[in-house]
Symmetry: C2
Subunit: 335 residues, 2 copies
């Protein structure tokens, strides 16, 4: 039996900031699952910064989206038809075919997830999924955070940054400071997420804001934005400081790259380590992260904010809003 | 009994490139060694890039030189008076009081060195000293070179670069390429030092020269210069590539820093690691280095070029020539 459903296609490649015209909502029919497949009714889908560069026709660590084809990304859903023994109708699964109301996929591509008491299942798209894993691996494995470090997180009100800063706090940081793009977000960081200090990077030179927030300098910089915040961090880092370089939202939409940090030569005398990473290399740490972060989430020690947008019709608007920084914490589309 | 001797003082701090006027040759009297001291007649002294930033009044990992005071740096000499049991008249020692014909110092500050058969003792100022240790540690410990890697060394005809490239070759690199500032140096790299390819960074865009030399990309970049060579290397590095950031000659004399690499954001998708280092953190590796590099030197598998300048009267000219890149390999002043 076919299933009539809807999905979002890439209609045209964006040049700079994307708009609604780059996307199309398409109605389509899915066949019944073949042997080894399952049909899933998606309940939540993720919109993430990394999706923007996939809209360019550039080889990267994930293949580009194709014009006229559906987008994809992380999603959660309930199995509605199954041809395999290990997934039953009603099971909750995490998979990669977001941007659509139904997903037809090989059972091997779906991972069954177990709800945690007191924790919304949507968190598996964020703090218990790739977002949380990015923060966890970036802070602990890439920047080699240790208790007693002072940590600076840029984009700290964002999905990854807000988790990275809280993990640092819960793991015994001496001081955790963050930057964000509005007074409301700055207040959120210190009042809700337990940051020791925060500043609005739009209020003046970033180096001044960082010096005020961390007058004794920093040991670790979790970089979500690049550009002048990276330059300020290099200036503030202590000897043997470490930078985890995570995807840069600020740079995804630039036609010409921003200038590199003019003070990078300080990395020699300060013995700095700057290390880029991609979370897909680190999925082996997922169970460690779910155990540790899931515990903090259930106890209320870690706050994972979510911004919800309802309906596939509004998914593009939610994605564009996320790129503009309108979300606090993880942006989730409920379907 | 006093010893009348000569030494070089910093007469005035240079602004930009130093000149003869920044230095003074001063005659002075040294007292007889006190208990625990030795008097050394210096035979060789080192001039090194790191001495230039020490002429600025800037706190760094080594204290600045003081105006009106003698310069210092690595030197080799023969003990001519001793008050201690473990150093005898005639012993060869390595110590830190260069830029003078005699050195009066605590015996604990002098390290006795053993000549190696067939290896000029002056090499203890270079390939068997801090220079060689910088190359050894930078390549093996900082850039984590492994057999099969393709390695790019900038400033490859310089003291550190020429050793780094050869260690890579002798440790089983797939391909070793280097950049230098003249056709003669480029020829030297491929004809004498065993580099697989080399290019003159003044001949055109560095990225083009690097692509021609290493068309399949690189795994390790040993950075002696920063600037556009670092940018070209970031473009050429494979996934999981590593950069050892060593002191940058090009930047020591700049009043304004050069632009940072515009493509640094590639470090995320490529999972690059850039790591600055200072050799003084790594003296514990000296005996490993002397054993391995000393063996290659004695067997002739590793070529360590030296450029000699004779006499303390010519030491400043030798230093300035080294800053301008007139040396091939290690610049040594014979006293």
């Amino acid at each position: 039996m076919t299933t009539t459903t809807r999905e979002i296609h890439l209609a045209a490649r964006p040049n700079g900031w994307p708009t609604q015209e780059n996307f199309a909502l398409v109605t389509t029919d899915l066949p019944a699952p073949a042997a080894g497949q399952v049909l899933v009714r998606n309940t939540h889908m993720s919109v993430d910064p990394y999706m923007r560069p996939r809209m360019n026709d550039v080889k990267s660590y994930v293949p580009p989206f194709q014009v006229g084809e559906p987008l994809d990304g992380a999603a959660i859903g309930k199995v509605v038809e199954s041809t395999v023994d290990n997934l039953a109708v009603g099971d909750l699964v995490l998979h990669r075919l977001g941007w659509r109301e139904h997903a037809l996929l090989d059972a091997a591509e779906a991972r069954r997830i177990e709800p945690i008491d007191g924790v919304d299942v949507s968190h598996y798209l964020g703090v218990l999924g790739t977002t949380g894993l990015t923060a966890y691996v970036g802070l602990l494995d890439i920047a080699r955070f240790k208790a007693g470090d002072t940590v600076f997180v840029s984009g700290a009100a964002g999905a990854v940054g807000s988790v990275a800063g809280q993990i640092a706090r819960l793991r015994g940081a001496k001081r955790v400071v963050g930057s964000a793009g509005s007074a409301a977000k700055v207040a959120h960081l210190t009042k809700k997420l337990g940051f020791d200090a925060a500043f609005n990077y739009r209020d003046g030179p970033v180096a001044d804001g960082l010096t005020a927030a961390a007058p004794d300098g920093i040991d670790v910089y979790f970089d979500n934005v690049g550009g002048d915040q990276l330059e300020a961090a290099i200036g503030a880092l202590h000897d043997h400081g470490r930078v985890a370089m995570c995807g840069s939202i600020a740079q995804y939409n630039e036609s010409t790259p921003p200038p590199g940090p003019r003070n990078l030569a300080l990395a020699v005398g300060k013995r700095l380590t700057l290390r880029g990473f991609i979370v897909i290399d680190h999925f082996g740490r997922t169970s460690d992260m779910v155990r540790e972060v899931g515990g903090w989430l259930a106890s209320g020690e870690l706050v994972a904010e979510e911004t919800f947008v309802d309906g596939l019709d509004n998914a593009v608007a939610g994605f564009l809003g996320m790129l503009r920084g309108e979300n606090t914490g993880k942006m989730v589309i409920r379907l």
